[in-house]
Structure formats: C-alpha cells, structure tokens
Amino acid sequence: MSGAESVDGERSAADVDAGGAVDRSPVPDADVCVVGAGPAGALVADRLASDRDVVVLDAGPRFDPNNRLARQERAIRPSYDRPDVWGVGGARDAHENAGDRSYPLNHARVKGVGGSTLHWQGMVMRLHEDDFDSASERGVGADWPVDYADLRPYYAEAERELGVAGASDNPYAPPREEPHPMPPFEPSYSDSLFAEACESLGIDMHSVPNARNSEPYEGRSPCVGYGTCQPVCPSGAKYDATVHVERAEEKGATVIDRAPVERLEHDGDDRMTAAVYATPDGERHRQEAEAFVVAAGGVETPRLLLLSASDRYPDGLANGSGHVGEFFMDHLFAGAGGTLDEETRQNHVGFYTSACDQFYDEADEEQAPFKLEFFNYAGPSPVEMALAGDDWGDALVDRLRDGYGNHVAMGGLVEQLPDADSRVTLADDRTDDRGNPVPRIEWSVDDRALDTIERANEIQVAILEELGADVEWIAGPDATGPAYHHMGTTRMSDDPGAGVVDADCRTHDLTNCWIASSSVFPTSGAMNPTLTIAALALRVGDDVADWLGDDS
C-alpha cells in the first residue's frame, strides 16, 4: 500500500485477518496477565512465556510492518503532525493539562504493540551510581531501595536483549564488566569539528550507546541510513518492542491488541483477580490470572490504578500510600545551535554518535546531573523544506541550498527533582472514547533543574563559539521542554507509606501485582530511561517467575 494517507484504514482493516475476525477473548487459566505491550511489558512477557501461560493486553493496534514506509512518508510530509505517524490522538488519547507547564502527552507516546519505542530515538544509557542514592550523595531527592550493583547484571542483559551498539571509551560511565553487544557507530563528520573545539576547552567527548544495529543483529537489519529514526525506522535497525512481542508469541504468549484495560479487580485478600478490558466490538471481557504486571507507561499506569478504585482502595488501587500519580517527572531539554561558514553534513542519519557526561557527577544540592549531546541532525532536512514553501524549480533549489548545509547544534538532558505536586490525576469531567475519566497532568519543574539548564547552555554556547559558530538559538529555562520520558508516578520505596511498589517493583498493597515502568523511578537522573526500564522489567520477570514457583 503506498501513500502516507493509505495507512488510515489500519485500525479497522487490521481487525479482519485471513481467518476471519480476530479472537480477543480472554485466555483461560492464564498464569500472568501483562497490561501494555511496550518494551516493559514485552520484555516481561518474553521472559515468562517459555514456562508460563502469558497474555498481554494492549490498548492500541498491532501495526502492519508493511506500512512503515508510508509512516515514514508521514514523518516527512508537512500535512502530518508527529502524533499522526502512529495514529495517536483523538478521543482515545484525550487528556487534560492543569499545571504550570503544558505537557504535550500525545507527542510523548505511542499506543499499540511495540509501545512508544516505535517512535523513540533509541539512545540507551545506564544511570550513574549516584542516581540511585540522590538523597545520600547529593542531598536532594530520594534514595532508591535498589542500587547500581543490583541492576548491573540486568543492565548487561538488557543491552543484549535490545541490541546496543556502544564502546567502553566513556570515562564517566558507571562500571561495566563486558563490552556492548555491538561495536559503536563511528563518530560523524560534525563530531570531528566539535572534537577540536572541545579539546581546546578541555571538554571530553565519547561515544554513546545506541539501541540500533551497527551490524546485523539477531536477524534484524543493520542501520541503512533512512534518517527518520524518530518517529519511524523502516528497516527495523532501531530496536522497538515488537521484537520481544514476537518472541513472546513464538514461545506461546497471547497478545491481544485494541484491548484497553479499564479496570483492575481484586478480592478480599489483596490479590488482584482480573483485568477488565474492552474490545472494538463494544464488548467487555475479564482476563483472570495468577499474577499481573502493569506496564502501561508512566501516565496510563497511575491512571489505571486510579480508575480501579474500590471500597477497599477508595483512593485508587495499590494507593494505600496516597502516592499513585504523584512525583511526575521528565527530563528537561537544554540546547543551543547555529551555523558555521563551512559544511557540516547534517541529517544523513537521525541519531547522534557523541556525547559528554563529564559534568554529570558534579551534581549536588544546587546542580542537577546533566549530559550533553552533539547532534548529527542540526537544522532543516532539505526534503521537508522542499514540501513547505511557495516556490519550486530553480527558486526552490536556491532556497534549499541556502537553508541546508552549515548548521550545528547541541542538546542535553537535565534531571528534575521529584515533587508530589507534579502529578497525574483523573480529570473531573472529561472522559475518553469509552467514558473513562482522562488523565490530568499537572507538570511543574524545580529551580535546581532550571538553573542547571542555564549551566548546560553556558557550556554549549562556549563550545559552539569555540567552533566559530554564529549561535542562533538557545533552548534555555524559558524554552525548555520535556524529553518524553514519564517517570515517578508509582515510586519505589521500602516503606509502604512512602511508595507504591517495593524494591522488587511489586505493589505494597497487592500481593500478586508488579509494575514494570519508569513510573517506579524515585528520582530520574538525566539519562534516557528505557535501558533502566528494560533492566527492571527483566528483574520483574525473574521475581514473578520465583513467586509463581513458590506459589504453586
């Protein structure tokens, strides 16, 4: 099927396969029910599917892999907005903003088999050791009830599962025992320009781990340079969670798409008994299981718990602490860019190859951890420019030559502190396509984060000026935005009064319910979260397996 608009029919077309209507009925005698088929849910399902009957329910559709090029066309063509690429938006995905800052939720997620990794960029770093001990080491935030050493073997395993290309040249990264599963991507031409400037300023550059194949990996293609990684990789070189969904299905797991869970039920013994989900035919079903893993992302996970309030849990399921939905955090973007009087060769690929973690562990009470990134996609992409102008012919080519060729830019991510008032709740009177209250986001950002953005900007501008660039834009404290990492909303703590899940990511209140998500992060660090999500998900898988073993 060709043409960007041709994928519109997918939601209905996908419903009938060669054998007739898709069966979305519950699986009898399931051991494990996983809610959400993003990387967290997919990794848990894959981990358990060999030995257990696993069913995965996802709110969104199963996307046809043959439509990826049409989605790429959507990514390039101006008449489509980013959420249109994966069909996000509309009544299903309605939400409300009520905080200091507006949060663009539907730019920040994908619903469907594969979850938000369909859209993600695929940068995968480990958190630093001190990120797990922010209160003790930096005097702010909270300590995690687990530390780096607990996660270290799971990080290594997560890197193998996702397929990470990386090197061991980063002196600031936490200790690792083995090389990455794939060699790193070579530095870009523009990295070599930055390298000179950084050297004269005494700033270190190093490689950066990518969940993207630098060589063929487990049957998937190496990167072929489409350059549209975010929002879609047509070659499959960028990891996405369909990899683990497919593996889980091969091992016997059942994956039901377009099955939003509306409510989780429990019995009088604090055991979860069923996930109640809707199907496109308007029916509702109950999926029963021995164990449940909620992996619906950092916003829908707390929402689902809040929607599942009962007489026993009037403030929301698993919300004895009162903290479900609180401490909503994202990483803040800090950036700067401009132009040089020479060619910089941008937009050949859609990922970056060099970074700087040198300042990360300077973090203390006043300064947040932050990292710096050297972009390979600064400035406009000529093909996108070509489609949005009132010119063509020779005039257009002149405009493209003028606009493309000599941009440079740097980005960076900054930690924000957990704050109970930054939170996800249920909207009072706005409902989604099924009549359930939509998530209401109140997002606020602390001064330490805003000050640190300025500090990051200073370094970025110093590097750009050393490079001889005309600095044309700075994304500072006023222009910052979220990096689309939803964290903190079901925080982890040993103390049932201070957190929603324990150190094993099991809810304090319900004996057979785990949460696999960045929603369990007590603090966020400044590293992209998904490798840590994956490591925790693998650990949840082991814990559920142990528990089921003990239980039977």
Binding site: S2, I76, V224, G225, Y226, R345, V349, D394, R401
Partner: protein, 189 residues
C-alpha cells in the same frame, strides 16, 4: 545533473512502493523501443472523467518539468519509473489520478490544451493559478491543497528524497533514502 533509475528506485523505496521498481524496469525498456515521442499524448484520454495511467504519467512529467530545477535531466524516465511504483491501485494512487484530472481540466479550460502541450511558463502559471504554490498540502483539502499534495509535493518528495535530488542541495543521503550508515561520517567533497 542526470536523474537515474537508481534515483527513482530510491525515491520509491523512501515512500513505500518498492513493489513497482521491477515493473519500472520493464516499462522503461518498452518505452525505449517506442522512442521518446511515444508519450507526448495519451490518445485514449480526452479530458473527460478520470485519466488512465498513461495520461497521468504524461501530465505528471509535464508538471515535473515545471517544478524541478533546470539543472536536472532525465525527468521523463525518472517520473515514469517513479509512477510505476506509485500507480498501484491504492487510495493514494486514486488521489493522484483525481488531482491530475483537476490540473488537466484547468489547463484545458484556461489554456485550451492539455498540460503537456503548454509551454513551460504556462505550466508554471497554471499551477500558480490553481493556488498550488501557496497552498499547504492536504490530501482531503481544497483543489489547491490536493494538487499540492498529490501532484506538486508528490514530485518534489520523489526528487528530494533521491540521491541525485539530494546532491543538488549537498546531501547525497537525504532523509527517506536508505543511503547507508557511512555518508554521515564523510566530510565535504
């Protein structure tokens, strides 16, 4: 700069119609036998109703000559091969056909001739009179917006996501083209 078959294949690969490439090879071979004059006009279509594939090719090539820069050659074969992949019976293909019908109908009523018979300046003028220059593309929009989407931007997308089109601007591996994971490492030539 010469647009090649590789460019057309690359443009198709960029936007999801790889199935047409093999077909394109066959068609081009046929065409070579028939000589370049073979597609000047499509005798089967009189401007009424919807144009057939050949008439769509003729009109699109004529528009491409207006919206592509003077520096490129090989437009005819490039557009033909590209459309071999795009005219695949999909809803998108029917959108192209319908938009071409509107361009042709305007050409015939304002200039008394099919677009392929207009001198280059008139083709340019025709597209501007249709409003395709200032319109933002929209597959469900007004005539101007649909002509922009299915005709003008269709052709610009094909050109600028191909290696030769990219090279015109200084990027031999433009977005949408699977040009490998080495070009980003190379310095300017």
């Amino acid at each position: 700069m010469e647009l090649t078959r590789r460019d057309a294949a690359a443009a198709l690969a960029a936007i999801g119609a790889t199935g047409g490439v093999a077909l394109g090879v066959r068609r081009t071979a046929d065409r070579r036998g028939g000589g370049p004059g073979g597609e000047q006009a499509d005798p089967a279509w009189d401007g009424e109703g919807l144009p057939g594939d050949e008439a769509v090719r003729t009109a699109m090539t004529a528009v491409a000559e207006a919206v592509y820069p003077g520096a490129v050659s090989g437009v005819d074969a490039f557009v033909g091969a590209f459309l071999d992949g795009r005219l695949d019976g999909s809803p998108h293909c029917e959108g192209i056909r319908a938009a071409v019908a509107e361009v042709e109908s305007a050409a015939r009523s304002w200039y008394d001739a099919p677009v392929a018979d207009l001198p280059p300046a008139d083709r340019d003028e025709l597209l501007r009179e249709l409003g395709a220059d200032t319109a933002e593309e929209d597959p469900d929009g007004t005539t101007a917006e649909r002509v922009r989407y299915y005709v003008v931007n269709e052709l610009l997308l094909a050109l600028y996501s191909s290696p030769t089109g990219g090279e015109l601007v200084g990027i031999e591996n433009p977005q949408g083209h699977a040009g490998g994971a080495e070009s980003y490492q190379r310095g300017p030539r």
